[in-house]
């Protein structure tokens, strides 16, 4: 509850105006957001495939997925065959596909573009705080740990206090027990950073240890990939009843410049099989309705294949939103394959609109001022 006071303190005068909405918000079940980063720039055109468009086959004579192999979702679009295992989720209306996600003045550098996505900044602006950091301050669900990252990079959570990286819960608790308590007043920012990490470990370990003892076991089986192992870690922490509003994990590398067919297939298979297992595990624990899974990636890839049977850095791409309370179907708009700019797709939905739609509907936040990127995408049943 201290947290609520803190938010009131932060928001100052407008707190009165927010009050009715806060009461309203609390009657709804808040969702846990799970971010899946597809590192390296996923090739959208070979993920959700415009199989009825002859232009697609012209642009990609060597790497296009043949029409009869595409898993058809509509009369225009279909999944790459490696995504077979999430077909039941699509049929169960648990997957929203947002087409044509990108941003104005796209940057084709991996590093700069993922920074733009992670900080939700304009192409020309440089920001350092992750886009979720400030939303985390405003959300109202009970919190034990602000965010858990199961890969190595805080990304969109940069600047969040008490966001921790855990790869293995047991090992994390063991290590935390051995940590020396320290304090230091030297003016050294590197040292201060280490001390901050230490106290956040101690705090989180305390919360985890309390709940992990009574944890239920997950029965659903997961594939033997490190991506699935990470998803299982998340499922276990959720099943233990630890309150964490955001998790992040990643899969890569989608940077398929050469010989992409085999590599891309393997990656999509890892993604699909992992997410399908995650869905079963959470359904078994009656938690599937409480999560919203979202994929993102620094960019899509060039419409035309290159000479190495791969694709170069591009722009817009489709992304997935998954969960028990997701309203399945297509959102956004599939970019045209004939109206390319510099050989690239023209984006239809700003990724910042996807973000706003996710946090506002998952956390029932009081509506912020119009984001300027269009109407909220109603892909979550509130």
């Amino acid at each position: 509850m201290l947290r609520r006071d803190f938010i009131k303190f932060l928001s100052g005068v407008p707190v009165l105006a927010y009050c009715p909405q806060l009461v309203y918000a609390n009657t709804k079940k808040q969702k846990t957001i799970i971010l899946v980063e597809l590192q390296g720039g996923n090739d959208g055109l070979n993920t959700v495939i415009p199989y009825s468009d002859p232009e697609y086959y012209k642009l990609r004579p060597n790497i296009a997925i043949p029409k009869d192999e595409v898993l058809q979702l509509s009369n225009k679009l279909g999944f790459h065959p490696a995504l077979q295992s999430i077909l039941p989720a699509w049929k169960g209306n648990d997957i929203a596909i947002v087409n044509g996600v990108g941003y104005e003045n796209p940057n084709r550098s991996h590093f700069r573009s993922i920074e733009i996505w992670e900080t939700a900044s304009q192409s020309e602006d440089y920001a350092t705080e992750g886009w979720l950091a400030k939303h985390l301050l405003a959300q109202t669900m009970p919190v034990d740990i602000n965010a858990i990252v199961v890969d190595n990079d805080l990304g969109p959570l940069s600047g969040t206090d008490n966001a921790i990286i855990i790869n293995d819960v047991e090992k994390f608790l063991q290590g935390a027990r051995k940590l020396n308590k320290t304090s230091n007043s030297l003016n050294n920012s590197a040292l201060q950073h280490i001390q901050k990490v230490q106290s956040s470990i101690a705090l989180s370990a305390e919360q985890l240890a309390l709940k992990v003892k009574s944890a239920k076991n997950i029965k659903a089986s997961f594939p033997k990939t490190s991506f699935s192992r990470d998803l299982k870690t998340i499922a276990s922490i959720m099943a233990a009843g630890v309150n964490v509003p955001v998790y992040k994990l990643s899969l890569g590398s989608f940077d398929t410049h050469a010989g992409q067919q085999w590599q891309h297939k393997k990656l999509l298979q890892t993604l699909g099989d992992g997410l399908a297992a995650f869905r079963s595990a959470l359904q078994e624990q009656s938690l599937w309705d409480d999560v919203v899974v979202m994929t993102y990636s620094e960019f899509g890839r060039r419409a035309q294949e290159n000479a190495s049977r791969g694709t170069d850095h591009g722009t817009a791409a489709p992304h997935f939103i998954m969960g028990g309370k997701v309203k399945g179907g297509f959102y956004g708009e599939q970019p045209s394959l004939t109206n390319l700019v510099n050989g690239d797709l023209v984006y239809k939905v700003d990724f910042k609109l996807v973000y706003t739609s996710i946090v506002q509907q998952s956390w029932s936040l009081p509506t912020v001022k119009s984001s300027g990127y269009g109407k909220l995408l109603p892909f979550i049943r509130i």
């Binding site: 590192q39 390296g40 084709r108 550098s109 991996h110 590093f111 700069r112 190595n152 990079d153 805080l154 921790i164 990286i165 855990i166 790869n167 090992k171 994390f172 290590g175 935390a176 051995k178 940590l179 020396n180 320290t182 230091n184 030297l186 050294n188 920012s189 590197a190 040292l191 950073h193 280490i194 001390q195 990490v197 230490q198 956040s200 470990i201 989180s204 590398s253 940077d255 410049h257 050469a258 290159n306 000479a307 190495s308 791969g310 170069d312 850095h313 510099n342």
Partner: protein, 466 residues
């Protein structure tokens, strides 16, 4: 009166900016911790009591760039790779062999970093590995990565222009950034983009059309069946290209020469070395001015690396007391340093590739072409716990190690302070930490005391700093 004050002020400002005359423990530890992966605690005092210039000249004057650790025997064999004509069984065998070689290659480099007689050159080799990245994961040939490592080591403190020209034709690089499949009809932009963004100018100093022109200029560069550089004339685009304002039938070498003639290249490199060697701060007015001065040193020396490195080691920023212990040790700094400081048995170096990978730095397998982000990113809740775990394990191994090794460590302590014979907790801290965290004059008398004190010291957060 005021005249004297002026004179003394002048004197003070001189002593602050000019290189210190003599090296003390703290300064020796600072320099060696930053550019030489530290040194064993018994050797540290040997570097003191000499003029600073002599000390750093000595470190940089070693000219031998051949590794002293024998490389794995397969580095002399022909290229091993999976090819289409092999049976499933043969492919499996080759893949297994390549995995083993990858492990051996990594272990070999760790051993070399620990025992090399030219540690500054080795540190610079790692710096260039993080600049001109390539990964086993993509290249899939330990042999080609070994050859690239040889190239980096040979030029680590040589000439950047020569290194840049050579790395562009390095087979592992041609595979890593797909320049080998950059053809006239369908240019592949991967190498061209990273050459501009990460190897020379940095983001924001070129346009998308410069990248497209550069990619065209590099068309035709490739590798032969034996994985040697070849220029495939028929694949080269002979059209007129405009790159950074220059037009003509440019080829790859022309592009590199244009990049080398741009002052931004030296500035970009200087800021990168500054962050690795001096401080994370590159944006203060003083640092910006200093970066321009040092970049100019590199250009004036026609890209000779040694004078540039020497100038940075002599810069006021590097010598500023505020910058002692201001950087976080990379996993390699941390692990190699730990082995060197306590003379841990080299046999245990086999665990280093895995340990280093777990705390975020898998050598020969950087996360992407930008290399390791470094700085504060090295320390997360996960990596901090793992670093502590490795320290605990290493210390336990030391505890159980032979009497001979333990007495060697005790002798170190005595050698460190011959006049007093017995040393205090603070003396030991002064040898191991870049900044001191406590004030404890307790005398270390027995081996048990020594082990207890060492454990307490290295488990402090300050041990993660350099």
């Amino acid at each position: 009166m005021y005249k004297y004050l002026l004179v003394s002020l002048l004197f003070i400002s001189l002593t602050v900016t000019a290189a210190p005359k003599y090296v003390d423990i703290s300064l020796a530890k600072h320099v060696l911790g930053r550019v030489a992966f530290s040194v064993s605690v018994d050797e540290l005092p040997k570097y003191t009591q000499q003029p600073y210039n002599q000390f750093i000249q000595g470190l940089l004057s070693q000219s031998n760039t051949n590794p002293i650790t024998p490389p794995p025997s397969w580095t002399k064999d022909a290229l091993l790779r999976v090819n289409k004509s092999m049976s499933q069984e043969q492919k499996k065998t080759v893949r297994k062999k390549l995995r083993e070689q990858s492990g051996e290659l990594k272990t070999w480099w760790y051993r070399e970093m620990i025992q090399t007689a030219n540690p500054v050159n080795e540190w610079m080799t790692l710096f260039w590995h993080n600049h001109f990245t390539s990964s086993l994961q993509k290249v899939k040939s330990p042999l080609l990565l070994y050859k690239q490592n040889e190239l980096l080591r040979q030029h680590a403190m040589g000439n950047f222009a020569v290194l840049l020209q050579a790395i562009a034709k390095d087979p592992a690089m041609l595979v890593y950034l797909d320049n080998r499949s950059n053809r006239k009809k369908k240019p592949n932009e991967n190498f061209a983009r990273e050459l501009l963004e990460l190897f020379t100018l940095g983001e924001g100093h070129y346009t998308e059309s410069d990248i497209k022109a550069a990619a065209k200029a590099f068309t035709g560069w490739g590798i032969s069946k034996n994985a040697e550089f070849v220029f495939k004339k028929k694949q080269h685009d002979n059209s007129v290209k405009t790159f950074m304002g220059r037009s003509g039938n440019l080829d790859g070498d022309d592009i590199i020469n244009v990049l080398l003639s741009d002052p931004q290249t030296a500035l970009f490199l200087t800021e990168k070395l500054w962050r690795a060697l001096v401080s994370d701060d590159i944006n203060s007015a003083a640092t910006k001015k200093e970066s321009h001065r040092l970049a100019n040193v590199l250009r004036q020396a026609s890209y000779e690396i040694k004078p540039w490195l020497l100038a940075m080691l002599n810069s006021a920023g590097f010598l500023d007391e505020k910058n002692r212990g201001s950087l976080i040790k990379s996993p390699v700094d941390f692990l190699v340093g730990f082995f060197k400081q306590f003379s841990l048995p080299l046999n245990d170096a086999n665990i280093l590739p895995k340990a280093s990978k777990q705390i975020g730095q898998d050598i020969f397998d950087p996360p992407n072409v930008k290399g390791w982000p470094g700085g504060k990113n090295w320390i997360t809740s996960n990596t901090l716990l793992l670093r502590q775990q490795y320290l605990n394990r290493g210390l336990r191994a030391m505890e159980k190690s032979s009497e001979k090794m333990r007495s060697k460590n005790i002798n170190m302590m005595n050698a460190a302070d011959q006049d007093i014979k017995k040393i205090s907790y603070d003396d030991l801290q002064a040898l191991l930490l870049p900044i001191l965290e406590s004030n404890n004059r307790e005398i270390i008398a027995t081996q048990q005391d020594w082990l207890r004190a060492t454990r307490k010291i290295v488990l402090q957060p300050a041990y993660q700093l350099k």
